[in-house]
């Protein structure tokens, strides 16, 4: 079975934020929550790079390890999902996540957090595939429909790739060979403890 991964090629990202918008629209993500974001480093300076970042669905996921109520699970495709029924909104996963993926709705005054929300690799949650309950809590389940995550699917420069890790790494390696240098497959070393090629 495929091991699903995201790969962001910073040489191609043009900071159009279409991935962010597509994600929010596809999953009806509430206000204040961003499952995906585009971070621009060295904005306006030589060497500016933009990187679209979301949950990387780590191999040894820190969120899973630190969750006090053990609400995370990993699918057969290597996607890290969680149960909003079990989450208590403690915020530990945000402290542990290298990528800042977990998001919390403001549940009350001050810092009271609601149930955590994060990128599902467009594959829903523990509820039945494409059920109403799943749609409301976690958004669309595109994987169950045989589709890949919308952010990557509609990326105009194909900076963001999503799919079987071996295949996206292969595409990236081809690019690196063609253009003669790498730009870093963002987060791969941290998330998967492996290189996508040089």
């Amino acid at each position: 079975m495929a091991r699903m991964k995201f790969l962001l090629d910073a040489e191609r990202c043009i900071e159009c934020n279409a991935c962010v918008t597509a994600c929010k629209n596809e999953h009806e993500v509430p206000w204040g929550i961003n499952r995906r974001r585009v971070v621009t480093l060295n904005d306006g300076k030589p060497g500016e790079r933009s990187i679209s970042m979301a949950c990387m669905h780590c191999t040894d996921a820190p969120c899973m390890a630190v969750c006090p109520v053990d609400c995370f699970y990993k699918t057969a495709e290597g996607v890290v999902l969680h149960s909003k029924d079990l989450c208590i909104g403690c915020g530990y996963c945000f402290y542990a996540c290298p990528f800042g993926a977990p998001q919390y709705p403001q549940a009350g005054n001050f810092g009271t957090r609601g149930k955590m929300d994060k990128c599902t690799f467009c594959s829903g949650g523990p509820e039945a595939d494409n059920s109403e309950a799943e749609l409301v809590k976690y958004g669309r389940n595109r994987l169950a429909e045989g589709k890949l995550p919308l952010c990557a699917e509609m990326c105009s420069t194909k900076a963001l790739l999503a799919g079987d890790g071996d295949i996206v790494a292969g595409i990236y390696r081809e690019r690196v060979v063609t253009r003669g240098y790498g730009s870093g497959a963002w987060g791969w070393a941290t998330a998967y403890k492996e290189s996508a090629g040089t």
Binding site: V39, T40, N42, R49, P62, S83, A96
Partner: protein
């Protein structure tokens, strides 16, 4: 290489002198050929095997985002792994050893020494030791501390001890309730610590009797041995300052956690969580000893915080200087 850099510089300079770009480059700082080269392809030659290497090449993980969440501008924080390693490793293990170790020590102490009795027995006469405000402050702090400890230990150890027994749904229900309890009961605890400090700090300044008390280990291990002491002996002072200093660290770090990202960034939050857990576990261990000696471990001790009146014989054995001062008698050792 140098030739390529010079050519690149020449191209940029010619672009800079083009009228259409004049405004854009007007305020640009002068750049050396080297920085243009690295600026053009900052990541050329870097492999993607190491995120830290990439972040260094781009001078840090702090970027800019168009969404209104400053936290989102941190691209990668690999320190999250250090935090995870700390709380899942040394903090959890050492905390368990501290707390369980103290329980074992107390059990062994009880088996060896038994309950420390009043040598001369109850006299039947009592002396006022703690007034209503003292006792209110003590029990306010104590009861909130118990709730904080149980809810805190549940967050740290419940996944391993309780979750397998009661199942995920019940455990989440309980943990959610305990999370709210922890957040709200924190306030009375902090109030209690501040009140304790104000009420009792005067009696907890170290004095000469403390050295004697410590030299004799408080007479804990020898029957009939009672070092002189004022209102609080050195052991009690250790408890007092542990609660005040430990309570202060736990309160401040707890406020950081209660109001996430109000006072610090992600690294401050991680540091505060570790401080919170470490000092809480240390304080739990110390307070266990306090609870033991104030109840099961010593005859006559519990009355001090229950009725506020202690037996005169108990007071003379454990706090002889204080009794003499209260009763206007000559201070022992100063006749």
């Amino acid at each position: 290489m140098a030739v390529a850099a010079l050519m690149l510089a020449a191209v940029l300079i010619s672009v800079g002198t083009t009228p259409a770009y004049a405004q854009a480059t007007g305020g640009a700082p002068p750049v050396s050929a080297g920085s243009i080269n690295t600026g053009e392809r900052p990541l050329a030659g870097i492999t993607d095997s190491n995120d830290a290497e990439l972040l260094r090449a781009l001078k840090g993980a702090q970027g800019q985002v168009t969404i209104q969440d400053e936290k989102a501008a941190v691209l990668i924080q690999p320190q999250g792994r250090d935090w995870r390693a700390a709380i899942k490793g040394p903090v959890r293990v050492a905390g368990a050893w501290l707390v369980l170790g103290m329980v074992v020590v107390l059990i062994v102490f009880f088996l060896m020494r038994g309950r420390i009795t009043i040598d001369k027995g109850f006299s039947g006469r009592t002396i006022a030791r703690f007034n209503g405000l003292d006792r209110f402050t003590h029990w306010l702090t104590a009861s909130s501390f118990v709730i904080l400890v149980l809810s805190g230990l549940n967050i740290s150890y419940g996944r391993y001890l309780l979750l397998p027994i009661i199942g995920p749904d019940a455990f989440t229900g309980l943990s959610l309730a305990l999370k709210y309890a922890h957040n709200f009961v924190a306030l009375p605890f902090m109030v209690g610590v501040v009140m304790m400090f104000v009420l009792w700090v005067g009696h907890n300044i170290p004095n000469k009797y403390d050295f004697q008390w410590l030299a004799m280990a408080g007479g804990l291990f020898s029957k009939g041995a009672h070092p002189p002491s004022k209102k609080f002996n050195a052991g009690q002072k250790i408890i007092f300052w542990s609660v005040i200093l430990g309570g202060a660290i736990i309160s401040v770090s707890g406020i950081f956690l209660l109001f996430p990202f109000y006072f610090g960034d992600i690294h401050d939050q991680q540091l505060m969580q570790i401080l919170h857990a470490v000092f809480a576990l240390i304080l739990i261990s110390i307070v266990l000893a306090h609870v033991y000696i104030g109840s099961l471990g010593m005859e006559g001790a519990f009355d001090a915080m229950y009725t506020g009146e202690v037996d005169e014989n108990w007071a003379r054995e454990h706090h002889n200087v204080w009794v003499a001062q209260v009763k206007g008698e000559p201070v022992p050792g100063h006749d």
